[in-house]
Amino acid sequence: MLMLLLVICAAANADESSGLLPVIPQAVKGEACVEPTDVMRRDHMQFLMHQRDDTVHGGIRGAKHSLVGCIDCHAQTDAQGAAVPVNAKDQFCASCHRFAGASMDCFECHATVPAGKRASTTLPAWMSPPTVFVARTPSTGVD
């Protein structure tokens, strides 16, 4: 019981660098996301689902909420200059989705790396993170 309380308190007080919450690699491009982080966290599926109808039925591409736009900014680059798939472990989409236990269907069909970049082959996409990626300095907090 006490352990449970401790864990819950730790989770409530944890920030992203303490190891309990997903580590989201920082985007490689751009000043800021197209929406505030807390809005995105809650509503990104609403944005994407609305946008996909606009794109498929209306032919509107490159809009603010385009999935291709997300991947362009958020896909990491490894030491060899190849792009890391966003659904690889600890990468942008996968880290939160793994934490939340919500499966993602998008990348059955959608490309996981930006246009013109080849996918990182240092390790298979579904295995551990690439050799180098740009991220926050890891803290020495709770492991």
Binding site: E31, A32, C33, V34, E35, P36, R52, D54, V56, H57, G58, G59, I60, R61, G62, A63, K64, V68, I71, E108, C109, H110, A111, V113, P114, A115, A119
Partner: protein, 250 residues
Amino acid sequence: MAGAHKSLADRSRRRFLAKAGVAAAGLAAGMRFIDFPHANAASDPVTGARRWGMLIDADKCARGCNACVTACNDEHGIQGQGRPETDAQWIRKVTLRDNATGRETSLPLMCQHCEHPPCVDVCPTGASFRRADGIVLVDKHSCIGCRYCMLACPYKARSFVHEELTDQKPWSPRGKGTVESCNLCVHRIDEGSGRIPACAEACAREGHKAILFGDMNNPTSTLAKELADDDSQELRADLGLNTGIRYEDL
């Protein structure tokens, strides 16, 4: 005595100003996160003002040339799996011999982008649909992979994805378990930059110029003029589908 302590009004005024200042600073900082909508030519949905189509001249199509097929495969990331019966083909070359005269022709065959597509009629979820500008597409978000549209298509234009796919092109999402077919390189058309479908581009690059792409609704377009000038035909015209792809010298 007068300034021994601040009045209630002063204190509340100070608090208000402090809060207002913080709010303003926060707003200014927060503005960085807001991307104001800007005027965008491609931000309006497509309309029926245009109807995209093609005219294919079978005489100019060279037997043995596969430039259109290769270009389409490259453009959309279609990779052969070594299983020709299940590999996807959005466009294929067909060579014909006339039973009566023995004359041989070759031509490319792809989704005909009908005005009354049988595939759209039979799709249970409405995933197969005709866009306002005439392009017949599969909305793969809704496709359940039942393959009824494949049965219904008079041209056998559709392919089913029989295996897990990787390395998709960002402009052409494709996935296992859904049905797909030629989409007239809709991603190129939507750019609005004048790029034409990959097959037409490749055919022109090879020098054959058998595939002419354009807007059927625009009387000044080359396509419309060619269609008005010369005899062209639909494939399986008896079905009354009013296809967007027309053939001449078949």
